[in-house]
């Protein structure tokens, strides 16, 4: 006898409402698009770029250091990068006062 309801609680929920978006590991072919995506998301241009902003060169370094931690969201219909996330791996100590710029070498 099946004791679970047809919509089982153990079924993993669909992560995105838009199934045309796929999150995939980042790679070097996306670098230019990632830079553009970051600009459009924060609303700045190559002329007004600041030290906080992430560029293709910084993305390339992230990929070299911690490739597993970098992901892009791609629209399958157009193969366009519509979102991204970058991660770094660190041993965090509660007492270590260190700011973002120091920890990430300005991103």
């Amino acid at each position: 006898m099946n004791v679970y309801p047809s919509t089982s609680l153990h079924t993993r929920p669909r992560q995105s409402r838009d199934t045309n978006i796929a999150v995939v590991p980042s790679s070097s072919k996306y670098l230019a698009e990632m830079e553009q995506c970051h600009q459009l998301a924060y609303g700045y241009t190559p002329q007004t770029v600041s030290y906080e902003d992430l560029t293709a060169e910084k993305f390339r370094q992230h990929l070299a250091i911690f490739p597993e931690g970098q992901f892009v969201a791609v629209d399958r219909r157009t193969d366009r990068v519509v979102g991204l996330t970058v991660s770094m791996r660190a041993n965090l100590h509660k007492d270590a006062a260190i700011n973002w710029a120091e920890l990430t070498n300005d991103g």
């Binding site: 995105s16 995506c37 906080e52 597993e68 992901f71 969201a73 979102g83 996330t85 991660s87 990430t104």
Partner: protein, 135 residues
């Protein structure tokens, strides 16, 4: 370090999907969790009559919706503190919010030598004693 979604693709679960990818990676690598600086991007709208602490408290309590922070809290992040001079983003008035997700599946100690535990000292075989030869 950073997560962004194009404006026209927001509110469709893309950001949540990106966070899930990071959570899954953390589980796979057996890491303690994920720490991030969140931008309270709607704080600027009320910054004139409200300090940041009160604002974040209200977002945590669910009394106020922040387009960025509220979604992250919904994904399981917990607020650990406030970070002054965190960003040049004007809508946050410089503030960042330290948010942490603890990996529920994190195993603090891995057995380095599993075989050593399979044969504890108490079960060591007694030394062989030869019986005296009968005449």
């Amino acid at each position: 370090m950073d997560s962004v979604v194009l404006p026209e693709y927001r509110s469709q679960g893309v950001g949540g999907q990106l966070i899930e990818a990071r959570y899954n990676l953390i589980r796979k690598l057996n890491l303690r969790g994920l720490a991030a600086g969140s931008l309270p991007i709607d704080y600027g709208k009320v910054a004139d009559h409200m300090d940041i602490e009160q604002y974040v408290q209200e977002v945590i309590a669910g009394a106020r919706f922040d387009t960025n922070l509220s979604k992250q809290l919904r994904k399981g992040f917990k607020v650990h503190g406030l970070i002054p001079n965190y960003t040049i983003e004007p809508s946050c008035r410089g503030w960042g919010v330290e948010i942490v997700w603890d990996n529920p599946d994190y195993r603090p100690q891995r057995r380095i030598f599993p075989a050593a535990r399979r044969f504890p000292l108490t079960r060591r075989v007694a030394p062989l004693v030869l019986a005296p030869r009968m005449a």
